[in-house]
């Protein structure tokens, strides 16, 4: 059950998307997100759906993996769509109904936006190893080092967090099973009772996380880690012509969506 969470997962591969420089992919994602929010009419939105679909095909990411990733977000999606559905004024679908045609459209667009947003983000994390991702972030943010932002430390923490997500999920599963075997009940009762039922899981999880952090720090120091200074990288980031093309395409897409918006499409 918990093992199905796909957050931070990476599917190794050798497609064009996999080979793009992580910096390009991060910038592309930003362009895409802006474009998603710029898309106003159904033509613009349709274009975004098409682009995302093409990206999925090119990256050989199966729709199933995307659906699996979307599952935990279901609540947010349903919540926002309901909000838009019930609180938009306009012409009722049937006389006397609270649901309006405008509400239906806005709600549909909202759901589409969230789904596209999440899908595109997954396309990045599914095709980019966490190390490459954080490395790309570190490079993109490196100008901030001048104003004393600890860029290396921040990206290091992100990559550690990504590394330990599967380990901690596995551990949570184990602790839950062990407490269930002792008769713990996580499924019945009111909110307070259920919140209380989490204590036997959270306490051991915290205790072991602190121990892990301790041991990890010693292990890292033993492997000569001393901050970002003088560090080299095995995998060098290098811009290739395809990165330029990808960015140009991304920029053209954004421009196209903005133009469409002008015409109300």
């Amino acid at each position: 059950m918990l093992k199905d969470v796909t957050l931070g997962q990476y599917f190794p591969g050798n497609t064009v998307t996999h080979r793009l420089d992580p910096r390009t992919k991060i910038l592309l994602l930003i362009l895409l997100i802006v474009a998603i929010f710029m898309a106003g009419g159904w033509v613009g939105n349709g274009l975004m759906i098409a682009v995302t679909a093409v990206c999925m095909i090119v990256s050989r990411i199966k729709p199933r993996s995307i659906f699996k990733g979307l599952k935990p977000m279901l609540f947010i999606i349903v919540f926002t769509s309901a909000l838009n559905l019930f609180y938009t004024e306009g012409t009722p679908v049937f006389p006397g109904w609270i649901i309006t045609w405008e509400g239906l459209e806005r709600s549909a667009k909202m759901v589409l936006r969230i789904v596209l947003l999440i899908t595109d983000t997954f396309l990045l994390t599914y095709t980019t190893s966490p190390i490459a991702l954080t490395d790309g972030m570190e490079r993109l943010l490196s100008p901030l080092k001048k104003i004393r932002v600890p860029v290396h430390e921040i990206t290091m923490m992100i990559s550690m967090a990504l590394r330990f997500i599967p380990t901690l999920i596995e551990e949570t599963d184990k602790i839950m099973s062990a407490q269930k075997a002792r008769g713990a009940d996580f499924e019945t009762g009111g909110l307070v009772k259920r919140a209380k039922a989490l204590i036997p899981i959270l306490v051991p999880l915290f205790v072991s996380s602190f121990r892990r952090a301790d041991e990890l720090a010693v292990a890292m120091e033993s492997r000569c880690y001393h901050g970002g200074e003088g560090r080299t990288r095995m995998k060098q980031l290098r811009f290739a012509p395809r990165d330029l093309w990808a960015l140009l395409l991304g920029a053209a897409l954004l421009a196209g969506v903005i133009v469409l918006r002008q015409f109300g499409l």
């Binding site: 062990a178 075997a181 002792r182 008769g183 009940d185 306490v203 051991p204 205790v207």
Partner: protein
């Protein structure tokens, strides 16, 4: 003091996905009340999946588990009730300790059973006694204890539920030889005094051979061997074939037989080896 019967038990993980994997297939066996059983097998042979079915933590994808003749997966109520009858101690159980005091942690199981305060208190003391946790530790935080002590407190937490069937998944993993011996002694004491059925998953062949009455060997999700230690270790070649270790005494006896020393009977403890050597006139 409960009887366990498993019929055609099968479990397939992630059924219907590309990650589909059958961990155990068509397992049938009966463990009579009060038996001391050792489960052997590689990591990934299916024994961990198997034991999690015995108290309904995992739902079978096929087959049925009966405890004292009742289907434990009949409904939600029976799935909960079986947790009080079948105690399961996971690997590294000390990682589940969470209460502020040793006493409260051991009491967690009995509290979940909804017992009276006096009854809980009595069971906690009794369980602590079985595993040799001294009275003065009861008010301490479990986090302050040594590794071996934590392990024993965690085992006491399950024993305090007075399960008729006690299952332990590698209770001695990661402990030093003295710690291992102590835990095994505790388990034997519990079994002797309570009469409970005990199932122990172990990688330690010497312990398994010496202490249990029956050994069940898992291999690739099936039962490869099932019998008394005498029966199992009279065919040590088969264990070697599966890739499992044999007790050191058995290993040495095999080498001796190869050298033409005709030792009598099954050999799996030091005592048996010495007796067999005496039998051929070595000493």
């Amino acid at each position: 003091m409960s009887e366990l019967r498993v019929e055609a038990l099968t479990h397939t993980y992630s059924a219907g996905t590309p990650f589909e994997k059958t961990a155990i297939e068509n397992i049938s066996l009966t463990i009579p009340s009060g038996q001391f059983v050792g489960l052997l097998g590689h990591t990934g042979s299916g024994k961990s999946t198997f034991i999690q079915h015995l108290n309904a933590l995992l739902k079978p994808t096929g087959g049925t588990v009966y405890v004292d003749g009742e289907d434990i997966n009949k409904d939600k109520k029976s799935r909960r009730a079986v947790k009080n009858k079948v105690g399961l101690v996971f690997q590294y159980p000390e990682y589940q300790l969470f209460e502020e005091t040793v006493f409260a942690d051991i009491a967690f199981g009995p509290r979940n059973m909804g017992l009276e305060k006096a009854e809980i208190e009595q069971r906690v003391r009794e369980a602590a006694h079985f595993v040799g946790v001294e009275e003065e530790l009861m008010e301490r935080s479990p986090l302050e204890l040594s590794g071996g002590q934590k392990r024993r407190v965690a085992i006491a937490g399950v024993i305090a539920m007075r399960p008729g069937i006690l299952i332990l998944d590698e209770p001695t993993a990661g402990l030093d030889p003295a710690g291992c011996r102590q835990i095994m002694d505790n388990i034997c004491t519990y079994r002797r005094e309570s009469g409970a059925t005990v199932i122990i998953v172990s990688h330690n062949m010497d312990d398994a051979a010496r202490l249990t009455e029956r050994l069940i060997v898992f291999d690739h999700g099936h039962i490869a061997m099932d019998g008394s230690p005498e029966e199992i270790f009279s065919k040590p070649e088969k264990l070697v074939e599966i890739g499992l270790a044999v007790p050191q005494a058995t290993r040495l006896a095999m080498a001796l037989r190869e050298k033409g020393v005709a030792l009598e009977g099954a050999v799996f403890t030091h005592g048996q080896l010495m007796a067999a050597l005496k039998g051929v006139g070595v000493c």
